[in-house]
């Protein structure tokens, strides 16, 4: 059996011998009560406990010390969680899980695996390798599966059928999937049906942002059948009134998080509206649920949004958002907890901020990037929010000095009202 495992240490055999020598040496002392001499005879449970603290590489080295420790290394408890790191040297700086280790895991431990994730880089080979492994997890009863692309979404480059068949192996065999992260993958409606058919009782978390092959009907099927679903992440085009009503049905547990990404594919894209009554039903059913919305739209695409009250709690505008829309946010988002604005036009947001302070009584975090606010209005805003603001991240350029406050004075005023030392965020000037 090859001794070389993950990372790139070549001298494993010599270290094995070295270690065994010291094992032998240690057995020599005459005092039988000497703790050192019992290293080789530690009970497996203790070894397991110690090994659980070690990172994989150290455990692997330990496993080459002697047969007993090698056995401990292969105890099922140590193989419940595994993260496969699949990177190609040409497309990533990161090291990858060694192919030999992967083979060993599939051979000896696939039926021990319960919490598995795949981290792949931007190359198609890495995504293919992930699918390869997935297709072999036939004896697996996974609880958690995560497919994570660390750079560009390489799963999308695979032939769809190849990906789907690999994924459905897990869906069909696991039957107890509780958490599934498949963002940026070519998963489709039929494969979701398979997921539901086998795991509807156990599914609690489903993250599938940016899965372009899924339709609103596909996700509705999940909501209808998986009544234990607590966390859901998807794109806005999959959101429908029916979906929200399904998630609010009596059979359904309380929803904890709903994350929605609103992304513009083409400029001037039209977005559908969700009825206020659907949101109301959600809030009635799950009064504590968090609604997280990330917007990546052109300024003129916000037409359908924020016209009615919406229970959003965490709001991020990843591109420029207009003053008018921010005004509507103040009017219609009473549950708002965090507001993060990447950019706005160059007109001061004084009124809009004050309104948000007035009407968003739960606001505790705000971030402003390329915006403008007069210093006086900003101080007023902070005064009104007071100590509930635990996160205040304002770029220095945002604050416009006026007759009342200069930039140097403002941080004292704000610190006073916040009850802690505060400075705006800065960027280096060369």
């Amino acid at each position: 059996m090859k001794r070389r495992l993950s990372r790139d240490r070549e001298d494993s055999t010599s270290s094995c011998e070295g270690q065994t020598d010291s094992c032998k040496r240690v057995k020599q002392p005459e005092d039988s009560g000497d703790l050192l001499s019992n290293w080789a005879r530690l009970p497996q449970e203790i070894l397991l406990h110690i090994f659980q603290y070690l990172p994989l590489l150290d455990r692997a080295f330990a496993s080459q010390v002697c047969r007993g420790w090698n056995q401990a290394f292969h105890m099922p408890e140590l193989w419940r969680c595994f993260e496969f790191e699949l990177n190609q040297p040409a497309s990533s700086y990161l090291k990858a899980t060694h192919p030999d280790l992967i083979k060993q895991i599939i051979k000896r431990h696939s039926n021990h695996l319960q919490y598995v994730s795949f981290k792949v880089d931007s190359s198609t080979e890495s995504a293919e390798a992930a699918c390869d492994i997935l297709s072999q997890l036939v004896n697996c009863s996974l609880k958690t599966l995560g497919l994570i692309s660390t750079a560009r979404p390489s799963f999308m480059e695979l032939p769809k059928s190849h990906f789907i068949s690999a994924l459905t192996v897990v869906f069909v065999n696991s039957k107890s999937l509780s958490s599934l992260k498949i963002d940026d993958t070519p998963v489709d409606d039929p494969s979701l049906k398979v997921l539901v058919a086998n795991n509807s009782d156990t599914l609690k978390l489903l993250k599938m942002s940016s899965c372009p092959h899924v339709s609103p009907a596909g996700i509705l099927c999940v909501a209808d059948q998986c009544h234990g679903l607590r966390e859901l992440a998807l794109n806005y085009h999959l959101l429908s009134d029916e979906l929200l009503l399904a998630l609010s049905s009596e059979k359904h547990v309380h929803l904890e998080h709903l994350r929605i990404d609103v992304v513009s594919e083409n400029p001037g894209q039209q977005f559908h509206t969700i009825k206020k009554s659907s949101w109301d039903a959600m809030v009635r059913h799950s009064p504590k649920f968090n609604l997280v919305m990330y917007f990546f739209l052109y300024e003129d695409e916000f037409g359908p949004f924020f016209r009615d009250e919406i229970p959003v709690t965490h709001l991020y505008f990843g591109r420029s958002v207009s003053k008018e829309v921010l005004g509507r946010v103040g009017m219609n988002c009473p549950r708002l907890v965090e507001l993060v604005v990447c950019a706005n036009g160059l007109r001061p947001l004084d009124e809009e901020l004050i309104r948000i302070a007035e009407r968003c009584q739960h606001l505790s975090a705000i971030g402003l990037g390329e915006c403008e606010v007069s210093c006086s209005a900003f101080v007023e805003f902070v005064k009104m929010c007071g100590r509930r603001l635990s996160q205040l991240s304002i770029m220095e350029e945002v604050l416009i000095p006026d007759h009342k406050y200069s930039l140097d004075e403002i941080h004292w005023e704000v610190s006073k009202h916040l009850g802690r030392v505060w400075f705006p965020d800065m960027m280096p000037t060369w």
């Binding site: 700086y93 963002d183 591109r319 004292w412 802690r420 800065m426 280096p428 000037t429 060369w430």
Partner: protein, 511 residues
């Protein structure tokens, strides 16, 4: 006793407030600037009956020969706080000792000795600018600069200059060093101390005229190279940072009649100081791996995309214009730097900041080791506890900065006939407009290399994943994903017991 003294120029290419010479030969423009600075130094020395001696080779090889040939008894140079510099100088000092040569080193490239600031911050460099400012606030003023070397001072010395000085020790030309020149000698940034001091005067004149010491808001005009810009001269030491500091301070006090200027007046100088301090004890400051202050981010490795960015072929006019100006002139406004750095790293291409840093090193006149590496880490949110939510849009940010589009038209002449409405996003222009402008996207000008909305969505997720692993934060807040640094909570430690008003205020708040 006769003292034979050699002054070794490295960075401090000036005769005012002086001590040292740059060995890093990077892009042609940087070399040209350097050579012009050397010529200028030589000219100034000639007026004082001396000359500049340019010697080729490694210091460890050259100095033993010179020590013997010239009977040297003393070697002086300006302190270099960068890790590589310290190592090189330690070797030289040791060697000089062996030859019985006395070495004298003075710290004048930065306002303060970085070790002093580190000492005052509990023996570690401040990792947030706020903290750094708090420490500087408690320090005494930087040491005053020395006046320019005078005729009288030089009269006491004698330099032996041979007839064939130029042949052996003259300033080389660009061609001699293997660079091709365009033949066009009118460059925007002319190297040398003389130019630096002239610019300083103009810079101060403008500030006095404006009588406004607030941080200037960027206008379209700011994007173009300013005749009063000083950053390359600070980098090469053609201008002493202390001279700049005191000139600003004296002007402020004269015009405002207030007792002391705010720290924000010295923004540019303090950022430079901050990065020098952060870098001085960290030889891995310019890379991600093995750098204790750098977040390990799974950047993509994509040479093709990097080349498009470096060569201004991204298909985003704002980005391409900036990279073109950089390549042509060797300088871009700091907000332009933010835009292209964000685009390359955490905003759009997800390529490592190290690649961007190397391109800047080659093309940017004021990119010194500490400031360049530090700024790239800062802009890519790889260090210094930055929030990563604010992304510079390659269309919107440009448009808001320069609605007229003149900057684009100047550096990408192919697009000059595009109307303002489409010049920042020519791919959205209807075919008729593209034809009328005589520039078809995909043919005469590249298509955009990525979809910004998609990329920024992806990348904010990536950054969040990385940071949540760091901070062990599992909640929903985007802002709380970034860990706060402990040093923010504690007041700065110092060796003196006198607390200034700022520190007293800090102590009153519960962290």
């Amino acid at each position: 006793m006769v003292v034979n003294s050699v002054h070794w120029f490295r960075k401090g290419l000036r005769l005012h407030d002086n001590p040292a010479l740059q060995e890093t030969l990077n892009g042609a423009d940087t070399v040209r600037f350097l050579l012009e600075s050397l010529e200028d130094l030589d000219t100034s020395l000639r007026k004082l009956n001396s000359r500049l001696f340019v010697v080729r080779g490694q210091p460890t090889d050259v100095f033993p020969r010179l020590f013997k040939e010239w009977n040297v008894t003393r070697l002086t140079f300006e302190y270099d706080s960068e890790p590589y510099g310290k190592e090189r100088d330690a070797a030289i000092i040791k060697m000089a000792q062996e030859y019985g040569v006395e070495t004298m080193v003075r710290n004048t490239h930065t306002l303060y000795n970085p070790d002093r600031i580190i000492e005052m911050n509990n023996h570690s460099p401040p990792l947030t600018f706020k903290r750094f400012q708090a420490i500087v606030n408690r320090l005494e003023l930087p040491r005053k600069p020395l006046p320019t070397i005078t005729q009288e001072q030089m009269a006491r010395c004698r330099t032996q200059i041979s007839d064939n000085h130029d042949e052996h020790y003259g300033v080389p030309s660009l061609e001699e060093l293997g660079f091709k020149t365009q033949g066009d000698s009118s460059h925007v940034w002319k190297g040398g101390e003389t130019e630096a001091l002239e610019r300083l005067n103009k810079h101060l004149d403008r500030k006095a005229w404006v009588a406004n010491f607030e941080r200037p808001r960027i206008t379209a005009q700011s994007l173009f190279a300013s005749p009063t810009g000083l950053s390359p001269y600070l980098r090469f030491g053609c201008l002493s940072c202390r001279v700049f500091y005191y000139n600003l301070r004296d002007l402020y006090m004269k015009l405002r009649r207030r007792s002391s200027p705010p720290l924000s007046l010295f923004g540019q100088l303090l950022w430079r100081e901050f990065f020098y301090t952060a870098a001085t004890n960290n030889p891995n400051f310019d890379r991600m791996e093995g750098n204790p202050i750098c977040v390990q981010i799974p950047w993509d490795h994509n040479p093709e995309a990097l080349a498009k960015w470096a060569e201004g072929r991204t298909g985003f006019p704002w980005i391409d214009a900036i990279m073109t100006q950089l390549r042509q002139e060797g300088w871009i406004h700091h907000l332009a730097r933010h835009a292209v750095a964000c685009f390359l790293t955490r905003g759009d291409l997800w390529i490592s900041w190290e690649s961007g840093m190397k391109v800047f090193e080659e093309l940017l006149l004021d990119a010194d080791w500490s400031v360049n590496a530090g700024s790239w880490m800062w802009l890519s949110c790889s260090a210094f506890f930055q929030q990563f939510f604010h992304c510079y849009c390659p269309v919107g940010f440009g448009r808001r900065t320069d609605p007229s589009g003149d900057y684009i038209r100047r550096y990408i002449p192919k697009l000059k006939d595009y109307p303002n409405r489409y010049i920042y996003e020519p791919w959205n222009a209807p075919e008729s407009v593209q034809k009328a402008a005589n520039c078809i996207v995909g043919v005469d000008y590249p298509k955009p290399m990525i979809n910004h909305a998609e990329s920024s969505r992806l990348n904010i997720e990536r950054m969040k994943q990385v940071y949540q692993q760091l901070s062990h934060y599992r909640g929903l807040s985007l802002l709380a994903s970034v860990p706060t640094i402990q040093e923010e909570a504690e007041p700065p430690m110092s060796d003196d017991s006198q607390a200034s008003s700022s520190t007293a205020a800090v102590c009153n708040y519960t962290p």
